[in-house]
């Protein structure tokens, strides 16, 4: 579920009708993400039920004064579980994309800049990674290693994004390293390190960041998919995906156990997509066609 895959072809997009309106939507999106992140961060300090407390309310209750968003099949508070679930989603989303950006960014940069054999090998590696059915790759690693800690989940989702990241960064680097200012500084005797730091990086990183924002959305969704297969972080740590999976069994008794985490997931992915979209479009103009 890699939204980032398609990104590079569209950085050149010119005017989009919604561009000038993004001001508001992007602002609202940022606000939602900030609220979510803050709430998740300070969750233990908030007057919330313990997310695994099965006595928070009557099982499968609708929203009430006690349980603002209702309860799940075990009587746990959905508000609290959704807030705590955000922790996993945010950490997994951000960390996985960061890991793949750092590793894939480095590899892609080296490949795009030095080219020749390194490039061939890395591109082949990226192809192999991308030819693997992504969710299956992640699922089999978690299942076979039998480790359902946060690091494993972050690792496997990072792996999903590694291939695309390598390809994108390499393409960006390639396009930059042939431009006049790079050739010029090279002829002036600048070292490779200096050129990469001074000329290539500033041109690659902003685009990479805008793609990472969209990729985070994809990673959050991927975590949900793993959790649905019961291959994400072990219970009782709530994650949105596992909440949805558990709620599915009771869907004709109560919709809330699916709708609340599903809604949170929807809003978060939407916010990230909107922001990523806006940032990419602005950069599309700033950077010029790649």
């Amino acid at each position: 579920m890699t939204t980032a895959l398609t990104a590079p072809t569209h950085t050149e997009v010119v005017e989009t009708p919604l561009t000038h309106r993004y001001g508001v939507t992007v602002w609202i999106s940022v606000l939602w993400l900030a609220t979510l992140a803050t709430t998740a961060l300070i969750a233990p300090l908030l007057p919330l039920y313990d997310p695994s407390d099965t006595r928070a309310g009557v099982p499968l209750s609708i929203p009430t004064g006690h349980n603002w968003l209702g309860t799940d099949q075990l009587g746990r508070d959905l508000l609290s579980r959704t807030v705590y679930g955000a922790r996993v989603s945010i950490v997994v989303g951000v960390a996985a994309v960061l890991v793949s950006a750092i590793i894939g960014g480095f590899i892609g940069l080296v490949a795009g800049y030095f080219q020749r054999r390194i490039e061939m090998v890395t591109l082949f590696g990226a192809d192999v990674l991308m030819a693997f059915p992504t969710l299956l790759l992640a699922a089999s690693i978690v299942a076979f290693t039998n480790s359902r800690g946060l690091p494993t989940v972050v690792g496997v989702i990072a792996l999903i994004y590694l291939g695309p990241t390598i390809r994108i960064v390499r393409a960006l680097t390639l396009s930059v390293s042939h431009r006049e200012f790079v050739t010029a500084s090279r002829s002036l005797g600048a070292t490779n390190g200096r050129i990469i730091r001074r000329e290539v990086m500033p041109n690659v990183v902003p685009t990479l960041i805008s793609m990472m924002i969209v990729a985070i959305a994809g990673a959050v969704v991927a975590e949900g998919g793993l959790a649905y297969l019961n291959l994400s972080v072990a219970p009782p740590t709530p994650t949105w995906g596992s909440m949805i999976a558990a709620g599915k069994d009771k869907i004709d008794d109560s919709l809330y156990p699916v709708l609340i985490p599903g809604g949170a997931l929807f809003l978060t992915v939407l916010a990230l997509t909107l922001i990523g979209d806006a940032v990419q479009k602005r950069q599309g103009r700033d950077l010029g066609p790649i």
């Binding site: 075990l74 009782p236 069994d249 004709d252 008794d253």
Partner: protein, 552 residues
């Protein structure tokens, strides 16, 4: 909210547990049982209740019955493929057992004419009915039975079913003499075709000889195998050359639908004609609908109770106070609420239901959270902080939910557990290797106490809780040498007292299955034995469809 609207997925739990138990048990089978020299089981579950008493009068031949089953089997060779309920229900249309239960729950010969022991139950003689033919025309004779038994003995994971069988001798065409390595008084119990004991089902010698036999099953049953598309459907058609009264249905289609929600939805939508469930809430729901004539509900006898197993050699569970505290911290009424089982499941205080003949009262603790907290405080004062304990289960979200409920209740007493969700195969590996602490388990209790010999005895290598005492070993050994039920019970009372004191298991309520069908489906719950008397049609989640017919 009315019960009929409640659709909790109790079945997921049962099925997972049952499947686990099936795997567990099937991989080695039940153990030789002993007692009753009559060759008749004096326990096995009460008679089925509530079954529609439709008679076969007015039955008409024809029609296709679609049956939802909960999973796919690896194949249909009774001597090689371990079956859960799903596999047994398919197999019971194609194969027939040497013995079966009559309507009072006694074991009676079925394909056999008689199954007789010598005086000390070390030699058994099976006399077969004459004229029984396999669907490929081969006769069911003593040699065929011998080949079936030999195939089981040759299978690494099945041979335990006939552990005590030392030698076989074909006396004449219909008579097979079996010599046991020691007294085995409950031998006929092994021949009914049960989870973990499939040796009773007779397959055609040609099928056993074929490498592909499990994919082309041939038995003596009222239906002949027709087509199998794994994970999609298996079709059987009426065997018109059946040795007994032919079946009524033309065709039965078994559809494996692993997802419990989907399976029930298929029944509600009318996509399938027969559906069975261990979910109490669903049974209640369908019983309400039965009154409106929308469904028929037949309820089988209680089977093995749900349970949670402790590894009594693992720190801190090696301390009985911790095990007792866990049981005392468990409010079973909340578990029943989660399972929607209140009013259907019964509380259990040991391996046998309180209503069972075998039940004996013991010191198995009642729910008492204060007491649990006190025990843990005692433990902590004496041995230091209580470490986190691993609590393993499988990956069904519904079962994980149940684990989370236990987890939160135990936490109230200061016991912290970490949930580990693994594939069934992994859990079995862990249990075999003793690499578990607490695990959702099943397959113990509910039937003849001697069935549980290997689970409780020290010398079997299959006592996975690793809880045993010399006294319990002695009682178990003594129990299998006795013939008289009351005398046996004295021994098994001792076993239950010791289990109640030692608490190697948390007993989580009885299980019963309901078989739901469309109103047009007749005589589900009826099973006529060859002599015309009534047999037990539904045993646990397994049933016979021979007598079933469709009202046009």
């Amino acid at each position: 909210m009315t019960h009929s609207r409640k659709r909790l997925r109790r079945i997921t739990a049962t099925l997972s547990i049952v499947a686990l138990a099936a795997l567990a048990a099937a991989c080695g089978g039940n153990d030789p049982k002993s007692t009753s020299t009559t060759g008749v089981s004096d326990t096995q579950a009460p008679v089925l209740t509530n079954a529609p008493t439709t008679t076969i009068q007015g039955a008409t031949q024809g029609g296709t019955l679609t049956v939802a089953i909960e999973g796919e089997s690896s194949g249909f060779n009774p001597t090689a493929d371990p079956w859960s309920n799903a596999g047994h229900n398919v197999a019971r249309s194609i194969f027939e057992p040497l013995a079966t239960f009559d309507s009072t729950g006694k074991v009676v010969p079925y394909l056999a004419e008689s199954i007789e022991p010598n005086t000390d139950a070390t030699v058994w003689t099976i006399t077969l009915r004459s004229g029984v033919k396999f669907q490929n025309g081969e006769p069911l004779n003593a040699e065929a039975v011998r080949l079936n038994f030999a195939a089981v003995q040759a299978n690494a994971s099945f041979k335990g079913q006939l552990e005590l069988l030392a030698s076989m001798k074909v006396v004449d065409d219909l008579t097979l003499e079996l010599t046991m390595s020691k007294a085995w008084s409950t031998f006929p119990n092994t021949l009914v075709g049960n989870i973990g004991s499939q040796v009773g089902y007779m397959s055609a010698p040609a099928m056993l000889a074929s490498a592909d036999g499990g994919r082309n099953p041939i038995g003596t049953g009222p239906f002949t195998f027709s087509e199998w598309v794994p994970d999609d459907h298996l079709t059987v058609v009426r065997n018109d050359n059946y040795w007994g009264t032919p079946a009524w249905l033309d065709t039965i289609v078994f559809k494996p639908i692993p997802d419990s929600t989907t399976r029930k939805a298929a029944m509600d939508a009318g996509d399938v004609d027969v559906y069975y469930t261990g979910s109490s809430s669903e049974i209640i729901e369908y019983q309400a609908l039965q009154k409106d004539g929308k469904f028929n509900v037949a309820i089988g006898a209680p089977s093995e109770p749900d349970m949670v197993m402790f590894n009594t050699k693992s720190m801190p569970l090696d301390d009985v106070r911790v095990r007792r505290a866990i049981v005392m911290a468990t409010d079973m009424s909340r578990v029943f609420d989660y399972l929607d089982a209140t009013g259907v499941k019964q509380l259990t205080h040991g391996p046998y239901a309180d209503t069972s003949f075998w039940y004996a009262k013991s010191n198995y603790p009642e729910f008492d959270i204060a007491g649990a907290t006190k025990l843990i405080e005692e433990y902590v004062a004496e041995k230091g902080a209580l470490p986190d304990i691993e609590f393993a289960g499988n990956q069904s979200p519904f079962l994980v939910g149940l684990q989370e409920l236990y987890q939160s209740m135990w936490k109230d007493a200061g016991i912290n557990v970490k949930i580990v969700s693994r594939a069934q195969a992994e859990n079995i590996t862990a249990v075999v290797g003793g690499k578990f602490q607490i695990i959702m388990w099943g397959g113990i209790g509910g039937g003849d106490p001697d069935d549980d010999y290997s689970d409780f005895h020290s010398g079997t290598g299959l006592n996975f809780s690793q809880f045993n005492t010399p006294e319990m070993d002695a009682a178990l050994d003594k129990g299998r040498t006795l013939a008289d039920a009351d005398a046996r019970k004295v021994q098994y009372d001792i076993v239950q007292q010791i289990l109640g004191d030692g608490v190697p298991f948390l007993w989580a309520g009885t299980n019963q299955f309901g078989v739901i069908s469309k109103p047009s489906v007749q005589a589900l719950g009826s099973f006529t034995l060859p002599d015309g008397s009534a047999g037990q049609a539904i045993t646990g989640g397994q049933f016979f469809l021979k007598d079933v017919w469709l009202k046009q």
